[in-house]
């Protein structure tokens, strides 16, 4: 009991999320026991992959403060997928696909980073602008139609699984989160990110290369969106120009739900990971229990507000 109280004080968000998740699973076990099978579990991880990668990038950008936010993530995913497939169709060797995805995504993220740090624009505005541009160009280039022709070897990866764990989740999502966690908690880069997020002025005063770190984080966020585009290609088998639609709002929801403070400097990627899994499980559970899908957006919205309220309450006590 005291352990629980201590956890409530230290990691309230994570605890709430874990309890909610256990509650959800128990609800499924009670009402729809037959669907608690391997397919459901694999499905949850598969559907979590794209959102997890994008949310990780979003969280890193927010964590570093400076009113950091990236509204262009969805547009980035769509445009990266489209450009990559256009390059393959134009005759580029299919082996370049993964590298190209990362490079294009990183390039689009770098653009955001330069506009934010070098020209000093507010991230919300810059990425709102690039959101319109990236998603618009993806649609306009294709006229809206999907581009097929994804190499079959990538489908084996994108749709395959190792035991119950989907390969994209095992080979991209897990390593990305583990690396992010290590960097944030064990390296000086991590301390820099928290420091500049917590108080940028003093971070600059103690000599942290704030702008350089920030550019790198936007680029990294872009590269993660690029990886999400890769997952979408290898999984769906075609490049859809609106594949990233709504990802900006969903990734923001996941980051906030996961306990990343919107002003930066506080939060951890484990929380984000838990939040992504919770969101996807919630959708699955509601589908399985026959709730109308229109309730999903509302329940997620309500959940976001309630978790933040709970977070507030715990801070008051601490």
């Amino acid at each position: 009991m005291s352990a629980l109280l201590g956890a409530w004080r230290n990691q309230p968000v994570l605890l709430v999320l874990a309890l909610l998740w256990v509650g959800l699973i128990s609800a499924i076990a009670l009402f729809q026991p037959h669907i608690l099978n391997v397919y459901t579990f694999t499905g949850i991880l598969q559907f979590a992959s794209i959102l997890a990668l994008v949310s990780l990038g979003q969280s890193l950008v927010i964590l570093a403060g400076g009113a950091g936010i990236d509204l262009s993530v969805g547009g980035n995913v769509s445009l990266t997928a489209v450009l990559t497939m256009m390059a393959l169709v134009a005759g580029l060797d299919a082996g370049w696909m993964p590298l190209l995805c990362v490079a294009i995504g990183a390039g689009l993220g770098l653009t955001n980073g330069i506009l934010v740090t070098r020209l000093g624009f507010y991230p919300l505005i810059v990425t709102l602008g690039t959101f319109y541009i990236y998603s618009g160009v993806a649609l306009a280039l294709t006229g809206g139609s999907a581009i097929s022709g994804v190499p079959t070897w990538s489908l084996t990866w994108g749709r395959g699984s190792w035991g119950v764990i989907p390969l994209p989740f095992l080979t991209l999502v897990l390593p990305a989160f583990i690396m992010a966690a290590i960097i944030l908690s064990l390296t000086s880069w991590g301390r820099w990110i928290y420091a500049m997020g917590y108080n940028e002025r003093s971070a600059r005063l103690v000599g942290i290369p704030v702008d350089r770190v920030r550019i790198l984080l936007y680029t990294l966020g872009g590269a993660l969106s690029g990886l999400a585009a890769l997952v979408s290609l290898a999984w769906l088998g075609s490049a859809r120009p609106n594949i990233g639609v709504n990802l900006e709002l969903e990734s923001l929801t996941a980051a906030m739900l996961g306990g990343i403070a919107i002003f930066g400097g506080r939060g951890h990627v484990f929380g984000v990971f838990a939040a992504v899994i919770l969101l996807v499980t919630l959708k699955t559970a509601m589908l399985q229990m026959g709730f109308n899908t229109v309730l999903q957006v509302g329940v997620v919205g309500l959940l976001l507000i309630l978790v933040l309220l709970a977070d507030r309450l715990s801070q008051h006590r601490g």
């Binding site: 026991p33 037959h34 608690l36 999907a146 769906l236 075609s238 120009p241 959708k283 899908t293």
Partner: protein, 327 residues
């Protein structure tokens, strides 16, 4: 930290262990629309319910809130996980089902398309409202008959990513190129999902082409926008609006003269036929070239080469007959 991870893993272990197939008495047929909350798919749902009662199956209707293929895919996957015996999908595009076709086959689940098709995806059958060709040709023929063979015609569609709408537009362009060389068909414009944008685009289209004679609203969300734009611009009689809209949506515009006509099939019948087809798949009955279906006066044609079950020719609604329909 570790403690919570432990909780999480043990809960997932429970999840693994309680796996197992679950047999149900009444077979279930599901239909997944492209989007929920629009009258067209609600009508299909109603037809599906009627058929379910008629043929003794359980009917499940569930779909995404946004036209997002990943959300649709997640819904299909969950239906497969529930072991629903037959699942019909009005696909946003092939990616809505491609990743799960194999899984469905492995679980002996009949995955098929209805209303919007994904050819070559491995689906069991496609329940078609009409051929894409028939839809594209009919609307052009009917419109040209009203506005003349040298008219200028504009197209307002919804999401540029909807593959079925794009197919219809393709056949409109083909028909004009082949049969009406003097008709000018403007490039299609895309309004996304909102009626407001459709109205804006239709208004701008009329402004930039004062000699415009007809506007085709391709997506059902664009119908009210186009009709409203013609009324607001006071161009009733000069510009003939039309589209693939249900009589209920088009009625006030047909009455006011903003729409000359509207082309659609009866979505309730399509929903009905979809559930019937699901029942046939579950029972293992082969489709014949001509199928007698309870509730239909005419036999339903099946094309074995393409695997298409055809509801029939599209209906044209005009001021004379629009009040005879309620959907």
């Amino acid at each position: 930290m570790l403690k919570y991870l432990k909780i999480l893993t043990s809960a997932s272990a429970v999840a693994m262990l309680s796996a197992g197939a679950f047999a149900q008495d009444t077979p279930r047929v599901a239909f997944v629309p492209q989007i929920v909350g629009i009258p067209y798919f609600n009508a299909m749902e109603q037809g599906g319910k009627d058929a379910a009662e008629e043929f003794g199956v359980e009917f499940i209707y569930t779909g995404p809130v946004d036209t997002n293929p990943i959300d649709q895919l997640q819904i299909v996957q969950n239906l497969i996980a529930q072991g629903v015996e037959a699942i019909a999908v009005s696909v946003l595009d092939a990616s809505s089902i491609a990743p799960v076709v194999e899984q469905a086959r492995a679980q002996d689940i009949h995955l098929y398309t209805s209303d919007s098709d994904a050819p070559d995806s491995g689906r069991a059958v496609y329940v078609a409202q009409a051929t894409d060709e028939g839809l594209g040709y009919t609307i052009i023929d009917e419109l040209v008959a009203r506005v003349g063979e040298d008219a200028k015609i504009g197209i307002v569609s919804g999401e540029a990513t909807a593959s079925n709408l794009n197919a219809w537009i393709g056949f409109m362009q083909e028909r004009v190129a082949e049969r009406y060389p003097n008709v000018t068909l403007l490039e299609p414009q895309f309004a996304g999902g909102t009626a407001q944008r459709a109205a804006q685009i239709a208004t701008d289209m009329m402004a930039s082409n004062p000699d415009l004679k007809g506007i085709i609203a391709v997506a059902s969300t664009t119908c009210p926008g186009v009709g409203q734009a013609i009324e607001t611009a006071n161009r009733i009689g000069e510009v003939v609006g039309t589209g693939y809209c249900s009589p209920n949506t088009a009625r006030s515009y047909i009455k006011s003269g903003a729409f000359g006509f509207s082309v659609l099939w009866d979505p309730a019948k399509l929903g009905y036929l979809t559930v019937w087809a699901g029942k046939q798949l579950i029972d293992g009955n082969e489709f014949q070239a001509e199928n007698e279906v309870t509730g239909f006066d005419e036999p339903i044609a099946y094309d074995e080469a393409t695997g298409v079950l055809l509801l029939g020719a599209p209906a044209v609604f005009t001021a004379e007959n629009v009040d005879d329909f309620d959907f």
